[in-house]
Amino acid sequence: MRSVVQLIIGTLAVLTAFQSSAAGTVIDQMGRSVVVPEDPRRVVALAPSITEIVYALGREDRLVGVTRFSDFPPAAKHLPRVGSYVHLDLERIVALAPDLCIAAKDGNPKAVIQRLEALQIPVYAVNPVDLAAIGETILEVGGLLNARLAAQSLVAEMNTRITAVKDRVAATTHRPRVFFQIGISPIVSVGSGTFIHELITMAGGTNVAAGALPYPRFSREETIALAPEIVIITSMDRNESFLKAQAEWQQWPEIPAARDRRIHLVDSDLFDRASPRLVDGLELLVGLLQPELAQAAP
C-alpha cells in the first residue's frame, strides 16, 4: 500500500517537473545544489563583479537589482540597489521578487544567503579564485542565463588576450620587484592567492608582498627594506590621496621606484573585481611593468 502511494507521489513529482519544466537542479561553486529556473527573468547580482559579468554576457535585460558599487558599465548605475555586497539589504532583495540571485562567496554574508534560501529564493554562489576560474564562472553564469554562446566567445576572447600577454612576457629576463599598494593609511598590499598577485606574476613582475596573508600591512620601514622597483597604487578616491601617497614614496630616494619615478595610479576596479575586466588590468600592468615589451608588441 505504502509503496503504491510512494509510486503515485513519485509519478506526480516527475509529471509536474516535466509539465512546468521551470526548474532544474545545478551544483554551484560552493558545492550546494540549487534549484534554478529554466530561464531566469528576474536576476539580482549580489556583487559588482557579477553585475559586470551579466552585462558582458548581454543579459542585462534580466537584471532587476545590483549592489551599491555596481558602477560598470555605467548603465548599471541606474538599476535598483540592494545594499552593498558586504551588507546586503534583505528586504530590498525580497521586494524585487527575484527568481535567481547570484552571490559571491568572498564578501556576501553567509547569513543573508541562508535567509534568502529560507524565503525560497534560489541563490547560486560563485567563488572564482584565479583568472582561469573566472572563465569557468562566466561559462556557468552564461549557462544559468541561457547565454552559453556569448559566454563561450567572451571566454575565448579573454583567453586569447591572456595568452598574448604570456607569450610576450615569456621572453623577458628581468622581472621587476613590484609593490602593489591597495591601502594608503595603513599601507596595505596583497599576498599570494589574490587576483592581483596572479596578474603581477603574469605581467612579468615579482610581487614583493607575496606570502600567506592575503592583505598584509606594512610599515614605512618595511617598504624601504623591500626596495620595490615599481609601486602601483589603487585608490578609491582618485586624485588627492594618490598624490599624497606618491609624495610619501618620493621622500625616500633609497627606494628604486621613488628614484626612477615609477609610481603609478591604477583603477582599483580593474584589479579587485572577478570580472572580464581583469584582462584589461593585466594588459595595463604589462605596460607598466614591461614597457619595452608592450611597445614592441603590435
Binding site: R68, G83, D89, L90, E91, A95, K110, R115, L119, Y215
Partner: protein, 336 residues
Amino acid sequence: MSPGPQPVLRRLLLVSLPLLLALLTASFLGLGFGVTGSGLRAIWEALLALDSANLVQQTIVWRIRLPRVLMAAEVGATLSLGGLVFQALLRNPLAEPYILGISGGSAVGAISGILLGLSRFPGVSATAFAGSMATLALVVVLSSGRQILKKDTLLLAGVMVNAFCSAMILFLISLTQDSRLHNIIFWLMGDLSLTDMGQVRLLALLLAPCFLLAFLLSHAMNLLLMGKETAMALGVNIKLVTMTLLVATSFMISATVAQCGLLGFVGLVMPHLLRLLLGPDHRILVPACILGGATYMVGCDLLARIVPRHGELPVGVITAMIGAPLFIFLLRRSGR
C-alpha cells in the same frame, strides 16, 4: 481584604496599559514601514484574512519585518530591565550592563567567534555568551566573596574588566585583515537586520523566566534600596537576592548581546526616564521598563531602517544618538 496590593495593582494596570498601547503602535509602524515602502496593505489583508494578491509584500512584512520587530522588542526590554536591576543592586545611577563589563566580555567572545569563522548562530552566539559569563565570574571573583555586597568594589571591578575587554576588542580588530572585519564592525555597532523567527523564539524562551524572576523580586529591590540594615531587618536575604538577580540579569543580557551586538544607552536611559515619570516603586518599574524599553528599541529600529536613503543604519548608532543627549538632559534636570 488588605488595602495594600489593591492600589499597586491598579497603578500597575494604569501604567502598563498605555505603555502596552505604545508598544503595539510602535510595532505596527515597524511592520508597516521600511526601506521598500509601506506594508500597511499587507497587514490589513492578513488581519482581515483576505487572500493577498501581493505575496512579496506579505513575505516582507511577516517574514522579514516581523522577526525584526519582535527581536527589537525583546532586546529593548532586556537591556532596559537589566539597567533597572543593576541600578537597584548597586544603588548607583550609572550602573548598566556595559559598565559591569558584561557586554564587553560578550563582545570579545563574539569577535573571537567571528574570527574563528563560526556561523552567526549558534556559533558566535555561544562564544559571546561564554565571554560574558566569564567576565561576570571574573568581576564577582575580583570583588571577592563576602565583599560582593560592597557596591563600589563591584562597580570598580566592572569598569576595569570593561577597559581590558575594550583593549582586547581593539587588539582583535587590528589583527583582522580581511572581509571578516566588516562582520566584526557591523556586530559591534549592533545589528538586527538578519533576525529570523527561530532566534526570536529561542530568545523569548530564555528571557521569560528572567523577566518573571525580576518581577517576583521587585519588592525585595524596593527594600534593598532602603539600605542594607533596613532590608535585613525586614527579612530580605540580601546575599541570595543580590546573587540571584545578578546572575539572572547577566544571563539575559548576554543572551541578547550575543544575538544582536552592542546596543548602548537603552539600559541607562529607559530606567531613569521611567523612574522620573513613575516614581521609585520597582513593582511598577519592572513591567514599565520591559514595555518601555521594548517600545524604545522598536522605534529606534524603525528609524534605523527608514532614515538613510541607501541601506540602513546600525540600530546601536540610533539608540546611542538619541539616548546620550536624553540622558544628559535628565541628569541636568534631576541635578536642579
